[in-house]
Amino acid sequence: MTTKHAIAILVNDQPGVLQRVSGLFGRRGFNIESITVGQSEEQGLSRMVIVTEGDDQTLEQIEKQLYKLIDVIKVVNLSSKPMVSRELALIKVKAEQAERPEIKSLADTFRAAVVDIGTRNMMIQVVGDTEKVDALLELLKPYGIQELSRTGVTAMTRGNAL
């Protein structure tokens, strides 16, 4: 069965490491839905979170192939464990004077913030799991979305789960 998975990859913070990882996905026909990279808790190491889709066998191959990269130190399939996943989106939505209170209250419901107001639009910042971002977007669509930028998912296991 094909399902979505978030995979966290601890890598050496080397030039070219993103290329190695993303190249491996492309070359072996694995799909990347989103990819985020940034610092980890340890100096010299970065953490990547990749959201991908595949059945169990594909996922097993992804993990094993990743481990073949010398710069990959640890691979964790977050989706198999209790985890917290978040992404951030900035949404520039058309907003005439009259619509602003409505949009503001939508944003409030999602605990999103209005971070900028233009003459005819507003910028909303939302943080949450993918579903929440999707849901807010769905509601904002009728007003007219002018620009959208999503970060992709970053994630971590809960508590002591490793």
Binding site: G16, R27, Q61, Q65, Y67, L69, I70, I73
Partner: protein, 563 residues
Amino acid sequence: MKPEVITGSEILLRSLLLEGVECVFGYPGGAVLYIYDALYGFKDFHHLLTRHEQGAIHAADGYARASGKVGVCIATSGPGATNLVTGIATAYMDSVPLVVITGNVHQSLIGTDAFQEADITGITMPITKHSYLVRDVKDLPRIIHEAFHIANSGRKGPVLIDIPKDVSAATTLFEPAKVMNLRGYNPTVAPNRLQLDKVAAAIQEASQPVILAGGGVVYSGGHEELLQFAETTEIPVTTTLLGLGGFPSGNRLWMGMPGMHGTYTANNAIQQSDLLICIGARFDDRVTGKLDGFAPKAKIVHIDIDPAEIGKNVHTDIPVVGDVKTVLEQLNKLIKRADKADAWRDQIQQWKAEKPFKYKDSNDSLKPQWVIEMLNETTHGEAIVTTDVGQHQMWTAQYYKFNQPRSWITSGGLGTMGFGFPSAIGAQMAHPDRLVISINGDGGMQMCSQELAICAINKIPVKIVVINNQVLGMVRQWQELIYENRYSHIDLSGSPDFVKLAEAYGVKGLRATNKEDAQAVWREALETPGPVLVEFVVDKQENVYPMVTQGSTIDQMLMGDCE
């Protein structure tokens, strides 16, 4: 060694020496001029100047396969480096340990499309085990030390070190690297004991067991352990193309090679097996044929150093991750004879007797199979044999009888034409006292023939065989059998006179067109010191049989002359 301030180039050479390098194949150019300057008058290891970078890397590959050591080659930036790509991919596909050193432009020019700049680490990322772009001369000793370790441990493979010109020129205090800190690299060598118990139990259960052994047996040095494993369990053995020599071909348990041009016995045995023990092989499609329908009744054991190979192509029931030699050593303490398999053993012997490789010999023309048989007989199967790619490669795999590991060198995974001849030069450098024969088609011989110069100048006594059928034989075979005799662009007329070509380089050339001459010229070649090229002009119509066409399971063989 006293710490000293020296250049990156000198650090490179000294580090290579510390890694035990005896022989390097290379080609100079602008970006490696500092390195070649340091090589001026350098005598501590051999540097062979090939005539093409492709020759250099295939030679380094042949050296590595024949010796078990790391092969090393050097090329300049840009076109020099890109000329290595085919050779790097060849080594990667066959898990051959290489350290490939390329020069690059000055760091300040990297990324500017500078003269002779190529992003060689980027280009080769999918075909190297690992790669380095050296940014600081201080990192060089560590990087070289790591590169050799990575290349020749775990699943072996090529490692590239790209050295910008300013790094090879820069100076620093040289302290040899001793410690290694590769957190992300810990190959599993020792297997899990529980898995071994499962294998031992499965052997007791099996009534139709088969061992499928591959290149991993040769690379791990586990051939003796394999022999012991087979003799104790008395399970019949088939060896893949790269596994040839990993098990003695004369052994009664040996069934020959499986797959597309494998034996009737090996292919049927795999298909009917109830236990298939795959050791250091990766279920390549040339071995499995149509995957859906491969070994349909078998419980599958897969022993491999690379966990990513397990379950990649074929579902595995008992995975064992570890070094083949170590695994077999431990397994050999747990196993007994497979007692339920007596009827199976009889069946195998019957198949072997009924359906060996066969061809229709002729007294008017030379048959390529006959030529290979003659080479085998006159050398008692003891030479190191390299081949190029095509029909001659398959005939050599079928008719030459290998009894020792590392005596068979061929491009299996990538199937690289042009590999056969330069790889023999490398093999001969590794074993100056052994007889090295390089068997080539008339097509592939023309892909690296310029290296005849290297043989002549350095008196490298390779016996170069050209099986001349005047066509791209393997392509002709496919066109005959699958494309209804539409012989599109396979005619090699216009090929050089190979005897004259050899002589033009100062290599002795001989030719035979019938059996009598063939025996005579081959005897002359063997008696002549130094390199000799022998051309055997053979029947152009011959096909390699059996053959499993694509999309068939491996027991659906076209038997041709083997009928």
